[in-house]
């Protein structure tokens, strides 16, 4: 039975609501549930999934909260509603105890003129006016929202540049400024390496490896995923490069992105010529020869970029990555690889750039990998509910996050998928990431452990391979997370790159690929 409740004039942000939904879905006897604001879009979503009946929908406006619960009995519905009320009141009382809360930015800035950075995470189509208000008050901006129109991004970045302000984003999820983790970011040592990146988890992985190698971060800035496109022309990347060049604490600069358009590439190379600090670039999937004839050190994976940055920051020459102290000898792990006839790899990622890096490293070796971010159109995975042959999924992409929280915030969906893959007899290897840090789930490793245990109870021949993107100072604790995974029989590698390479080892040992 489906039960609907409309709460008039009650607003919560969508992330908060998705977490509420997820909490009630955990109640035994609840088949499915959703708590959403009554926008037309959301109403259609809820009706389509059978969680909202028509008459109820007509009563709700965009300002109203809609609760839809499909449960086995009225008792279960009551229990769910009670839990929700508790969540609602926790939210409001939490606010009183915590930061000062305002209804509008104007009101907030009037009472705190000392604010110097806005973090904006509101639906993209509303972002322009809110961000503009911040810029006009002289605040730097980190814009987390996605779905911001291209022309808005250009207008905002141009205004920011004219006024000497950072406008990180849209779609910027990670930054570290003055040692403070913004959005999804890790607690890394401070140091002399300045980063600028068009990718969130890419920035996390590099900063974390730098930390593991004994280096430190001065500033880690985001530009937004589209910044290096032909339309945006690297506006913010060029600006952040200059900012890092002028920053006294930064001695080496790292640049992380997918390959830019040719025009933008030329601009970056021109800019780099005028910077007298060493620059390491990681254009994932780009041609390493792109940098021939320049002073820029080109790398192709996140780990190699981090290694080159740390080496350079210590004034040492960059040598082969196999010399890295992080490089794990996998011979010990080799013996533990379970035998299996199942041929395929299933990569289930919460971090987009980590998924992309895995795809780059596996695509050719495996003669094509299916994905929702496929390198080759031929390998576009049409039906994302079912993996096909070798598959890598970026579970932070739209299909998985429509009406559901990002898997880095709530790893439940990914955990379910791990179990699902184990039910497919062709699955031989499951490749995973585990992203720690501020903003992320309080214990993503535990979610993996639970799913892997369930999977192993059915299939003992699957090799589970993972890396943990985190540091010892992250709230979730790197060592604790790694140990929990190892205890569950997961092969844990120090970096995403090494995890992927280990997957190839597994396949070689099983004779799936040559080598």
């Amino acid at each position: 039975m489906v039960h609907n409740v409309i709460k008039k004039n009650k607003y919560f942000d969508s992330v908060t609501l998705m977490l509420f939904s997820s909490k009630i879905e955990d109640i035994k006897g609840v088949n499915q549930a959703a708590v959403m604001m009554g926008t037309n879009h959301n109403k259609v979503l809820m009706q389509d999934s059978g969680l909202l009946n028509k008459e109820q929908a007509a009563d709700a406006s965009a300002n109203d909260l809609i609760i839809g619960i499909d449960a086995e009995s009225q008792e279960v519905v009551d229990e769910a509603l009670k839990l929700l009320e508790e969540q609602f009141s926790n939210k409001s009382s939490g606010k009183e105890a915590g930061a000062k809360t305002y209804k509008t930015f104007d009101q907030a800035i009037k009472e705190t003129p000392e604010a110097n950075l806005s973090v904006v995470s509101i639906p993209g189509r509303f972002a322009k006016s809110e961000v503009m208000k911040s810029l006009k008050k002289g605040l730097h901006v980190m814009l987390y929202s996605d779905n911001v129109p291209l022309e808005d991004e250009i207008a905002l970045k141009d205004y920011a540049l004219e006024n000497d302000l950072l406008m990180m984003g849209p779609d910027c999820g990670t930054a570290i400024i003055n040692g403070v983790a913004l959005g999804f970011a890790n607690v890394v040592s401070r140091g002399s390496i300045g980063l600028t990146a068009a990718s969130g988890t890419g920035l996390q992985e590099v900063s974390v490896i730098v930390d593991k190698l004994g280096g430190g971060i001065s500033q880690a800035l985001g530009t937004g995923g589209r910044d290096l496109s032909a339309e945006i022309e690297g506006r913010m990347m060029l600006f952040t490069l200059e900012a890092l060049a002028n920053d006294g604490a930064t001695e080496v600069i790292g640049l992380i992105s997918k390959p830019p358009s040719e025009e933008v590439m030329k601009k970056i190379v021109d800019k780099a010529k005028n910077i007298d600090k060493p620059i390491v670039a990681c254009f994932l999937g780009g041609d390493p020869d792109l940098f021939k004839g320049t002073d820029i050190i080109g790398t192709t994976t996140l780990e190699e970029a981090a290694y080159a940055l740390v080496k350079t920051s210590k004034g040492e020459k960059v040598d082969a990555i196999s010399n890295s102290p992080l490089h794990e000898e996998t011979s010990g792990l080799h013996d533990k690889i379970p035998a299996s006839n199942a041929p395929y790899v299933r990569g289930l990622y919460t971090g987009g750039t980590l998924a992309y890096e895995a795809l780059l490293l596996l695509h050719e070796k495996l003669e094509g990998v299916y994905s929702n971010i496929a390198l080759d159109k031929k390998f576009d995975l049409k039906d994302l509910t079912t993996s096909r042959e070798n598959t890598i999924l970026d579970m932070g992409e739209d299909y998985f996050t429509e009406g559901k929280p990002h898997p880095m915030i709530d790893p439940k969906q990914r955990a379910e998928r791990i179990v699902q893959e184990a039910n497919d007899e062709e699955t031989g290897v499951v490749l995973l990431d585990c992203v720690l840090g501020h903003g992320s789930h309080e214990d993503p490793a535990a979610s993996i452990v639970k799913a892997v245990k369930e999977a192993k109870s059915k299939r003992s021949d699957i090799a589970f391979v993972a890396s943990v993107t985190g540091t010892k100072n992250d709230p979730q604790d790197l060592e604790k997370s790694q140990q929990a995974l190892k205890d569950a029989g997961v092969f844990v590698l120090p970096t995403n790159r090494q995890a992927v390479l280990f997957v190839l080892e597994v396949l070689k040992k099983r004779g799936v690929i040559n080598g």
Binding site: T101, Y102, K103, F105, V119, S121, N178, H438, G439, P475
Partner: protein, 469 residues
């Protein structure tokens, strides 16, 4: 690059707009953070957002500035006591003015119907309430909105042919506004009561009290109401729920002249007992001052400033300057607050009265921060909460009053000149302190509390003006 590199050497102070979790993680890192509990403009309604875009226009800004200046330049003066039949346009023996926009008898709420029947008896048109009702059903009574009589009245707001009225002149702009005497507390016609004692009290006001007030004002000369209002804010009044300070100040103004013009000791006792026995005596004067001020703001082309907010117990209506005398209506809300012993929320009638003119002019709920004594009575749990209400109102007005200031908020001016656009954009609704009437006719007041103006009124108003741009 000076600004960016300064950021790198400064302490971070973050304004987080949106996802609350980001605020929490910043606090875990001991970073100074303020949270903006963002909600979409116009409640995410894209059509309304488009209208707001259209109204984001220099002509509107200019018109609203003009409205704001007129409000602040206005000087409402209490000048006289007059009879409704002598001054109100089109007033006949069977005309009844009531609060809020007009509506058919069948749609009227209990208290309004009760008051009307009592008013018919008061006018001597019928001997009993039953007879009075027959006259109504035979269409022999004409109803009119007080606002269309240049007048206002609290709660049901009865204004009839024989009633005496305070006359207030806006000295700056020359317009006139009227209101009735406040009858006192308890079983009174404004709350829908209509028994013989209620009628008797009204007769006394007409026959005995009014002539004395007329001669008193003749002796005193015009009394500047805004000055009293400004002083009363400093005495802990917000002038909707609490008028203790303002009433005392007013009585102080009147007293020497009452004594001077009134020789009969027994009469003097009755008059002074009435004046000093009703803390809300000044409410009607605050209202008529508001009406005199806001009428001077009417009809400024393109202005989205609200010139009237009023309720008839069924619908809430607002007028905006650029749309003249058109009411934009929506069903009234139910107030929340405290009840007199023996009554509960079940007994309360929805929101009613012209008294919201005081919020329109920037006091009442808008000045709640100045009245700690009524904070709990109107449903706020702390003084901080009351101050927050006043701060929120600043987000929906053109500006702050230069003369009506709130001492408890460091002498910041009250939020003045409600901009209907800002109400729609922010979703912050005007907050109103109000009394509550029993929903059945003839019983009277059951409590007091707080109520918000319905958002649809403002949405309709901006849409209408948007079409004129």
């Amino acid at each position: 690059m000076a600004k960016v590199n300064k950021l790198f050497s400064d302490k971070l102070y973050v304004a987080n707009i949106g996802i609350e979790n980001f605020t929490l993680t910043l606090q875990e890192q001991n970073v100074n953070t303020v949270h903006v509990d963002w909600s979409p403009p116009a409640g995410g309604d894209e059509n309304l957002a488009k209208v707001l875009d259209i109204l984001s226009d220099e002509r509107v800004e200019k018109a609203n500035k003009e409205a704001f200046d007129r409000i602040n330049d206005s000087e409402p003066m209490l000048v006289d006591v007059v009879m409704a039949k002598d001054v109100l346009p089109g007033m006949k023996k069977n005309t009844i003015g009531h609060a809020g926009p007009t509506l058919p008898w069948k749609d009227m709420c209990g208290p309004l119907q009760g008051a009307i029947l009592g008013a018919i008896v008061y006018e001597g048109l019928a001997d009993s309430l039953e007879e009075a009702e027959k006259l109504v059903l035979n269409d022999e009574i004409e109803f009119v909105s007080n606002h269309d009589l240049d007048a206002v009245g609290p709660m049901t707001g009865m204004i009839t042919y024989s009633m005496p009225l305070w006359k207030v002149e806006n000295k700056t702009f020359g317009n006139i506004a009227y209101t009735t005497f406040n009858e006192g507390l308890g079983k009174v016609m404004r709350f829908g009561a209509n028994g013989p004692d209620v009628i008797e009290k009204l007769k006394w006001l007409e026959k005995e009290f009014a002539p004395v007030m007329k001669s008193t004002l003749k002796s005193s000369g015009p009394i500047a109401l805004k000055v009293i209002m400004a002083k009363a804010l400093a005495m802990g009044d917000e002038m909707h729920q609490r008028n203790n300070g303002a009433t005392s100040m007013m009585v102080r103004e009147l007293m020497p002249h009452i004594v001077k013009t009134q020789q009969d000791n027994k009469e003097l006792h009755a008059i002074t007992e009435f004046l000093t026995g009703n803390d809300q005596f000044f409410l009607n004067l605050a209202m008529v001052a508001g009406k005199a001020v806001m009428d001077a703001v009417k009809g400024i082309e393109y202005s989205t400033v609200v010139t009237a907010m009023s309720r008839n117990g069924t619908n809430f209506g607002i007028r905006i300057s650029g749309m003249g005398d058109t009411w934009f209506e929506a069903p009234v809300n139910q107030p929340e607050g405290l009840y007199f012993p023996g009554f509960t929320a079940e007994d309360a009638n929805p929101d009613i009265g012209d008294s919201t003119i005081v919020e329109t002019v920037g006091v009442g709920g808008f000045a709640m921060g100045s009245a700690p004594a009524v904070v709990r009575f109107v449903g706020a749990s702390s003084v901080d909460e009351a101050v927050q209400y006043s701060k929120d109102m600043q987000l929906i007005t053109v500006g702050l009053s230069p003369t009506l200031v709130i001492p408890t908020m460091n002498f910041v001016g009250t939020a003045t000149g409600i901009d209907a656009r800002k109400v729609v954009e922010t979703g912050i609704l005007p907050v109103i302190n109000t009394g509550m009437a029993h929903k059945k006719p003839g019983i009277g007041q059951v409590g007091a509390g707080i109520v918000k103006a319905p958002s649809q009124c403002f949405e309709k108003a901006v849409k209408a003006l948007g079409e004129k741009m």
